[in-house]
């Protein structure tokens, strides 16, 4: 049995859910970033899978979007981690529970 598109999508869905779990459940700010990166990777996996199973075009659109989204995710990670350091310097904590200045 060769893997179908469905199987890939379920794997990517699982990866996404694990990322969501990390982003929602962990208190440390770095875990939120890790979770977001995993969700982005799941999305990229989706793009590649659809490109592989769908009709072929020149240029390979799915691959291109994956490349660009990786680049953007890298930028996002850099800024996000810089924010973690800045927040840590200012509040002396990386615990997002304690960052509630936006409370209504």
């Amino acid at each position: 049995m060769t893997p179908t598109l469905q199987i890939f999508l379920i794997v990517s869905g699982a990866l996404f859910s694990i990322g969501l779990l990390a982003a929602l459940s962990r208190r440390h700010a770095i875990f939120i970033l890790i979770g977001i990166e995993m969700m982005l990777a799941a999305a990229n996996l989706n793009f590649i899978a659809f490109w592989r199973f769908g009709p072929q075009h020149q240029p390979p659109t799915g691959v291109m979007i994956a490349i660009f989204s990786i680049a953007i995710a890298a930028a996002e990670a850099a800024v996000g981690l810089a924010m973690v350091i800045a927040v840590y310097r200012h509040y002396h904590t990386t615990n997002v529970d304690q960052l509630d200045q936006l409370r209504g």
Partner: protein, 160 residues
């Protein structure tokens, strides 16, 4: 496409990801994160997008994971403290996963087998990047520069 390889890679990837999401020690979690991305890259290889897989390895394991490790080291004093675990997040994640799986399985048009395709060479990717996608490429370059400068500004010493 080798189904045995796929099953092994998938299990390893998801296991590493789950470890990255749940391990208590941050350093362990960061390493598992790198492992999970190796798995994703392997899946890309399996799908025939070798170039993207290599990019993923370079960027995530070479850059992002290292960056995370550095951040952990820089915020080390905070690491030892006790961290609670939010179980409602687990519930939401499980619900999302079941919803996604249900809707994917429900859609019959997705149960297709990969067709034979022409190999995606780096030359083709490069040609596409330098012709049709040259404009977005420049924009991404600009974005990365801006992000670099932004990150530097953010971590500069605060003026008192």
């Amino acid at each position: 496409m080798n189904s045995a390889a796929f099953i092994i890679i998938a299990i390893l990837t998801l296991g590493a990801a789950l470890a990255a999401a749940t391990l208590q020690k941050l350093m362990h979690a960061a390493l598992s994160f790198a492992g999970a991305f190796v798995g994703v890259a392997a899946l890309f290889f399996l799908l025939g997008a070798e170039f993207v897989g290599l990019v993923l390895v370079f960027i995530y394991i070479g850059a992002v994971a290292v960056l995370i490790v550095f951040t952990i080291l820089l915020t080390r004093r905070d690491v030892g403290k006790d961290r609670g675990f939010n179980w409602s997040g687990v519930a939401i994640a499980v619900a999302v996963f079941s919803g996604l799986t249900w809707s994917i399985l429900k859609t019959q048009s997705l149960s297709i087998i990969a067709p034979h395709i022409r190999a995606l060479t780096v030359k083709r990717v490069g040609e596409a990047l330098m012709t049709s996608y040259v404009w977005p490429l420049q924009c991404v370059g600009l974005l990365l520069t801006a992000a670099l400068i932004g990150a530097l500004v953010l971590v500069m010493e605060e003026k008192r």
